[in-house]
């Protein structure tokens, strides 16, 4: 047997160095007795490590990452287990760590998990008390050899404080510049109390809801073994004992009458009611009134949308563009044509030389119709019922803005305007009449251009769309 003495219980560099030498000398795991300096090595562990017989090997990065954590476990077998894993990886089982069902891998993974959990609980349950000279001192009892590895967390968090964490096995002391590891301590080495603990206990008791007792859930996450070092935990038995009585009292009191003196109320914001009179002489007022009416619409699509999206642009614009419906971005922003299709439309408008002041943009349907799926909203085409619901709004909007020509973008807009399911391919480029006799110039919706798969047809269709816009502009010159 070959005895290997490691200087510390979680000294990964020392273990790695020894393991490399053993592996290079082809020493099988059964021939190694691992122990700590100062411990007995076992009766027969007096052989030296033989001369190297093979060059260093490379192992998957996952191995040192796992080993560095496992070595902090308190299980005395950890050094040997890690060396056995390393031996197997080096002898034909390169992908060993992916074998989630291998008993030794399972054991190592379980040990790593226990160490990580211990570290996480240490981050959570260390409680500092302020010592007289302004140093913060905590007494903590970890399950594994984690103190040195976890000082980094406390340094990052409390770099500006001076603090000490005392454990039975070792202690760590931070002076604002560097950390010093020291010998283990006793609970009595930490201050017995802290001026703020009463406030913390009061908070713990008050944030607890007695009407929902779930003590098993509490114990699963905050095991009882930690309680003796948590100042708030001493109140748990009392809080649990009192809970049924407190709830019974709440229920017995039942509903209470409203307080005689209500909390002070805001002076109500009184808004001047808008005139909804369409026949007013002032189209700006009429448009604002219509807008208010649309925003207040509670039709079937309003239930799930963020808000109704009304048209935008100057009254008296020569061209009025009607799209299909607001999309995801329009729904959030509350403005039409701001999403991907809107951006493409704006670009085309500019390239066609149509001044913004001559364009009013709106949609046939004023709410976003969609299907929520997982993390996104999927656009859904409006049906005949949806179009019919919003048509009265659209007709009035067109009437007030009074454009010389309405440009319909896509099938939904064309249908809303003419009341008929016309195919765009048939009427594209000619002027048709809306139900109210307004001239309508049909073209495609810009989102159609976005959906085209290949750049070539994209370019061709964009040019055609641009041609349509220029044609519409010529119509109103």
């Amino acid at each position: 047997m070959i005895g290997i003495a490691l200087p510390g219980p979680a000294d990964f560099p020392a273990w790695r160095e020894a393991a490399r030498r053993l592996l290079a000398a082809e020493v099988a795991p059964e021939r190694v007795a691992w122990h700590l300096v100062g411990e007995a090595a076992g009766l027969f562990a007096h052989e030296p490590v033989p001369e190297p017989r093979r060059a260093g090997i490379t192992v998957p990065r996952a191995f040192p990452e796992l080993a560095e954590v496992v070595i902090r476990h308190r299980d005395g077998e950890r050094f040997a287990l890690l060396y056995r894993l390393l031996w197997r990886i080096a002898h034909g089982e390169h992908g060993l760590l992916e074998m989630a069902t291998d008993p030794e891998v399972i054991r190592a993974q379980a040990m790593a998990k226990a160490v990580r959990r211990d570290a996480h609980k240490m981050h959570a349950f260390v409680r500092f008390r302020e010592a007289p000279e302004g140093r913060y001192v905590a007494w903590f009892e970890p399950d594994h050899h984690i103190l040195e590895a976890e000082t980094g967390f406390f340094i990052r968090r409390f770099a500006g404080m001076r603090w000490s964490i005392l454990t039975p096995e070792a202690s760590a002391h931070w002076d604002g510049e560097e950390v010093q590891m020291g010998p283990g301590g006793r609970r009595a080495d930490a201050p017995a109390e802290d001026a703020k603990e009463d406030l913390w206990r009061a908070y713990f008791a008050s944030i607890f809801n007695p009407a929902r007792l779930k003590p098993a859930a509490m114990r699963a996450e905050m095991p009882v073994k930690y309680w003796r070092n948590l100042p708030e935990a001493q109140d748990i038995p009392r809080l649990m004992a009192e809970a049924p009585r407190r709830v019974a009292e709440m229920v017995a009191r039942g509903a209470t009458p409203a307080a005689p003196r209500r909390q002070r109320v805001l002076a109500a914001d009184v808004e001047a009611p808008m005139s909804a009179d369409l026949f007013t002489q002032d189209p700006a007022t009429a448009l604002a009134a219509l807008r208010a009416e649309v925003l207040a619409d509670r039709g079937p699509l309003a239930e799930h949308a963020t808000q109704a999206v009304f048209g935008e642009g100057p009254i008296g614009a020569a061209l009025l563009f009607v799209g299909e419906q607001p999309g995801d971005e329009e729904d959030i922003a509350g403005r039409p044509f701001v999403g991907p299709a809107g951006r493409m439309f704006n670009r085309a408008l500019e390239e066609a030389g149509i001044p913004r002041a001559e364009a009013y943009v709106t949609n046939a349907v004023k709410h976003f119709k969609f299907k929520p799926t997982g993390r996104r909203r999927l656009h859904q085409s409006p049906d005949a019922g949806d179009i019919a619901h919003y048509r009265p709004f659209l007709r009035r909007e067109i009437e007030i803005v009074g454009p010389r020509l309405v440009v319909s973008l896509g099938a939904t807009a064309l249908r809303a305007l003419t009341g008929k399911p016309l195919a765009i391919t048939k009427v594209r480029g000619e002027v048709v009449k809306s139900e109210d006799g307004v001239p309508v110039f049909p073209t495609v919706h810009p989102s159609y251009l976005l959906r085209l798969p290949d750049p070539e047809s994209k370019e061709r269709e964009y040019a055609r769309f641009l041609g349509d816009l220029k044609g519409a502009w010529r119509e109103v010159q």
Partner: protein, 413 residues
């Protein structure tokens, strides 16, 4: 009033907000000055006997409120004692608790006093003083007030890690009835505004190299919905939830089982729903978001728009779709394995990695400590093929015998 008494009143007033998360924000620490750190993972510093994590100092600035929401202990017409922290008191309390490692940071909310802007200004003040005067690097979650001004919202987002507005109830009608001053459209618009700003800040962080981007709530936004205070069924709750996730990019929608409050309003139901309903809704929500289930599939496992309380929604779905089983653990694609009751996403990934090396046998599943009794009726392994999938008593075989099967709840009648 003494500080301790204020703390008791204002923590008691805050406890009906379920969120206490401190995760998902940017990494930062105090090595260059200041106090505190955030490293991505949230930390629960304590657990109360109600099973809830205590991660943040969760308090109200004041529990005085001019709104009269029936479900809220702080409503204008409630008889609870009122208190108000000063901005300085809150700052000191947060720092004192933080230095002792009691908390990850602050979750600050408030009743509405005077006006939305006035209230929001005080909340923002606390965050600003913590960040700018004390270099506080811990976590800050601010409750946002729907109709506060855009400038205040921008400043709140600059200092806070997370912002939230509560949707409160699953359906608009219920909100109108129980919270007359709140307006669903306004809440949605505010959530939309936050989504825009969060996305802008994220986008700017990605593209801008020279000038630092305007920071806005790097841990995103969340919301809370009270379950059981109105008549909405589970289908309505999950539908609204899916809409919220999809529309506003929320990090979390918290469900809070309506629980009796002292000094309750007459508008509320006399009894609370079983706590297990909240639990089943969370499970269903995960299936929707991470397991590829549709709402209709999940609701098919229940009756009349409600989930089955006795068993988890995936098992309920599987029992009604026995034709889809058994699934072969050594051959089925990931999506199929995710639908097997008792297999979580992590386990599925481990099994996929392991089966590339060797065929998986039943004993391998046992070594991974998986619930074999629940799994094996639905799964084919190298040495096992279930024959019981069409048994009528399968539910009795696979349903848990303890725990949630018999929901325990404080009696409230």
């Amino acid at each position: 009033m003494e500080l301790r008494q204020k703390l008791e009143i204002l923590a008691d007033a805050a406890k009906y907000d379920a969120s206490c998360a401190s995760s998902g924000t940017e990494k930062r620490d105090s090595r260059e000055g200041g106090l505190g750190s955030t490293e991505g993972m949230g930390i629960c510093h304590a657990y109360a006997p109600d099973g809830r994590c205590i991660s943040l100092l969760k308090v109200l600035l004041t529990n005085a409120c001019i709104y009269d929401c029936a479900y809220c202990i702080n409503r204008a017409t409630s008889n609870v004692p009122r208190a108000r922290f000063t901005v300085r008191e809150l700052v000191e309390l947060t720092l004192d608790f933080y230095r002792r490692n009691y908390i990850e940071g602050l979750f600050l909310s408030s009743g509405i006093i005077r006006s939305p802007d006035y209230t929001m200004e005080r909340l923002v003040d606390v965050a600003r003083i913590l960040r700018e005067e004390h270099g506080f690097r811990g976590y800050i979650h601010l409750k946002t007030i729907p109709d506060a001004s855009p400038e205040l919202l921008a400043e709140a987002g600059r200092h806070a890690d997370r912002l939230s507005i509560n949707i409160e109830l699953p359906q608009e009608g219920a909100l109108k009835a129980l919270a007359p001053e709140k307006d669903l459209s306004e809440i949605r618009r505010a959530m939309g505004q936050m989504r825009l700003r969060i996305e802008e800040a994220k986008e700017a962080r990605k593209t801008e190299r020279r000038a630092p981007a305007p920071r806005f709530a790097p841990a995103g936004q969340s919301t809370q919905m009270i379950i059981g205070a109105d008549a909405s069924d589970d289908r309505a709750v999950l539908g609204t939830t899916a809409n919220l996730y999809g529309s506003y990019g929320l990090k979390r929608v918290y469900f809070s089982a309506y629980s009796p409050i002292p000094d309750a309003s007459r508008l509320l139901p006399p009894a609370a729903p079983p706590l297990v309903r909240e639990h089943r809704l969370y499970q269903a929500d995960w299936l929707l978001r991470f397991y590829g289930f549709s709402l209709d599939e999940i609701m098919a496992g229940g009756e009349g728009g409600m989930l089955d309380l006795g068993i988890d929604p995936k098992l309920a779905w599987a029992l009604r779709h026995r034709g889809d089983f058994p699934v072969d653990v050594n051959r089925a694609p990931r999506e199929r394995l995710l639908r097997v009751p008792g297999l979580g996403a992590k386990t599925v990934d481990r099994l996929l990695a392991a089966r590339r090396h060797r065929s998986i046998r039943s004993e391998d599943l046992a070594r991974l400590r998986l619930p074999l009794g629940k799994l094996l009726p639905f799964l084919v392994t190298e040495d096992h093929r279930p024959r019981v999938t069409d048994r009528l008593d399968l539910r009795a075989l696979v349903a848990p015998r303890t725990g949630f099967a018999k929901p325990v709840q404080m009696a409230l009648l």
